[in-house]
Amino acid sequence: MMRDSRLHVPHPPARPGQTPDFSYLQISPAGALARPEVTAAFTDIELLATGMVRVLDEQHQAVGPWNPHLEPDELQVGLRHMLLTRLFDQRMQMIQRQGRISFYVRSLGEEAVSVAQTMALRPDDMLFPSYRNQGLHIARGHSLVELMCQCLSNTRDMCKGRQMPVMYHWGSGNIFSISGNLATQYPQAVGWAMAAALKGEDRIAAAWIGEGSSAEADFHHGMTFAAVYRAPVILNIVNNQWAISSFQGVAGGEQRSFAARGPGYGIAGIRVDGNDFLALHAVTAWAAERARRGSGATLIEPVTYRASAHSTSDDPARYRPRDDWQAWPLGDPIERLKQHLIALGEWSTQRHEQLVAQLEAHVVECWMQAQQSGTMTEGPRLDPRTMFEDVLATMPPHLVRQRQQLDRELLAATQDVQPT
């Protein structure tokens, strides 16, 4: 029927069997970009949206105006949080493989994003994560046992067994609930920030979505409302190059950085090395200060790489080279911070190994504890009757009736007779 098609279709640079190729990635040298005043007009800082803010150079030194000059102990804490995140992920992945939880999502290779950005914010700032931001919880000190119990849907599960694994929340830690529906947290974070401004608080909100999710309507809603009301919010697009099997070009990243969307809306946009702990911290602190000063929102694009499979249900070998991550030019965030600390004389391979061993022990210890509250197969189990709670604030009559019917079913099942 058709003449030759003229439709353009974006491609990843390499598919399985081909050699990884990241030549498409525009990388600025460490220290190259200027650090403007936090009150600068977004129009004067558009270069930040297409360049890449980087602090750690090839010699593991912190260079340039964006160097946040953090104390060594802060850096050590950051390293510790990132390591703990990775080891936690490793363990939970293994546990899922053993069939003891139904699903898991790792953040391998992206640990700096959640950890550095959270550390640059105040504890009472409100965070609206995606499912790949477990580092937020870890950086704010949420007990691994709690996180594990959620993944286990056990008697201590904060979600009472209602959500899939990793859909955490933490009210007292000011971390919002994770939705299965992508990007919905964007306008919600903006609304929260609008409320904070309305109340005259100087608390701010921050939200994270993946580059793939930025195509959803709620990205646009969040950006528009943030721009119109100059909401004190930080909106992050974590560009880890992949959305399940689709390359960031399919999300709109082929021609333009995602950070560049910001200036298009009249919002500051910053593209940052997402594997550079120091750059992430500096950029986030800058945006937070900007928001608190009433200069409005910032769109941050941490550029990183999803080193793991999308989730335990995914097999990336089907759509990208196995050795892709090894070729990733921005390296491993943990290794880079480690080397920086070593270069500062504030760390050593030996201390590192000790820390790894200690954290691994801690994770195992937490897992032992978590199992006390039940697993999918053994131990105590949540009461199914709780499933009717929290649909509404008070249980309506029809749910009371349905719960009674379930009671009869459960009773009948134990007595193995027909309920009626």
Binding site: M126, M158, C159, K160, R162, Q163, M167, H169, G171, F176, S177, S179, G180, N181, T184, Y186, P187, Q188, A189, V190, G191, W192, A193, M194, A195, A196, L198, K199, A205, A217, D218, H220, H221, G222, T224, F225, V228, E389, D390, V391, L392, A393, P396, P397, H398
Partner: protein, 338 residues
Amino acid sequence: MPQMNMIQAINSALDVMLERDASVVLMGEDVGYFGGVFRCTDGLQRKYGEQRVLDTPIAEGGIVGAAIGMGVHGLKPVVEIQFADYAYPAFDQIVSELARLRYRTAGEFHAAVTVRMPCGGGIRGGQTHSQSPEGIFTHVCGIKVVMPSNPYDAKGLLISAIEDADPVIFFEPKRIYSGPFDGEPEKAAVPWSAHPGGEVPAGHYGIPLSRAQIVRAGSQVTVLAYGTMVHVAQAAVTRSGVDAEIIDLRTLAPLDTDTLCESVNRTGRCVIVHEATRFGGFGAELSATVQEACFWNLLAPIERVTGWDTPYPHAFEWEYFPGPDRIAAALVRVMEAA
């Protein structure tokens, strides 16, 4: 007691709540300086400031999404969707977020957002200013659905909705904003001042959600209706001469099943009336619920009288609209059935 039409009653409810509760904020398209295309928020921005009565971008999904975030931060947003026909862009935020937040966080987070939306036809609005999509929302667990039929109820129910800890979808039948309507477009319009429901206290009062009201006692058949159709049903009953009991549902979800079924068990007959399309509409749930609870007392099939299963056509509103004749015919049918 002051006389109010439904617009004034809604305005009064919002006024009262803005006054009483500093956490109440209004948002929506044209609701601020202008006071809303139907004037429901008239004067409120002037009175409470543009911080609490916000004009928003034209993005229903953004409005509800932002309102949820505000709700999470302790505010009680009351948002207006300019027409119920335009709620669809907000559907994901309503169904996946607003209705689920309390559940998925086991009560740790929730957002007590009230979503107001004018609904229904008969105003020459054509297919995208006339819809009654309540049947889409009543199927969604985690939200409440309300539709008043007169100014007194509108104010009391809206106040209760705003004070309620749960999200509420609040439908406003726009055809009866300025007066009751019995389904006869040719007849001279009647103002609310000529109707008891137009007497509305100036101050604060609530009408409990999930309580239906018997607006006409009767013995032969139970008519279930809500919104505009309550008035049309009354005209139909008079016309038919059938001694019908008319129940105004007021809250559609959670439904006041007891009041409905007690009545049908008494009368043995049931006619369900709504303006929305028939197939898969809320009338189907009412029919199923009544049939399950009243089967042994039914003397005739439960009938549904509704709009046709077509979009609401601009030129044929009154052929589409389930008017008194269509309802009366059903009343006669169920009485003759045997």
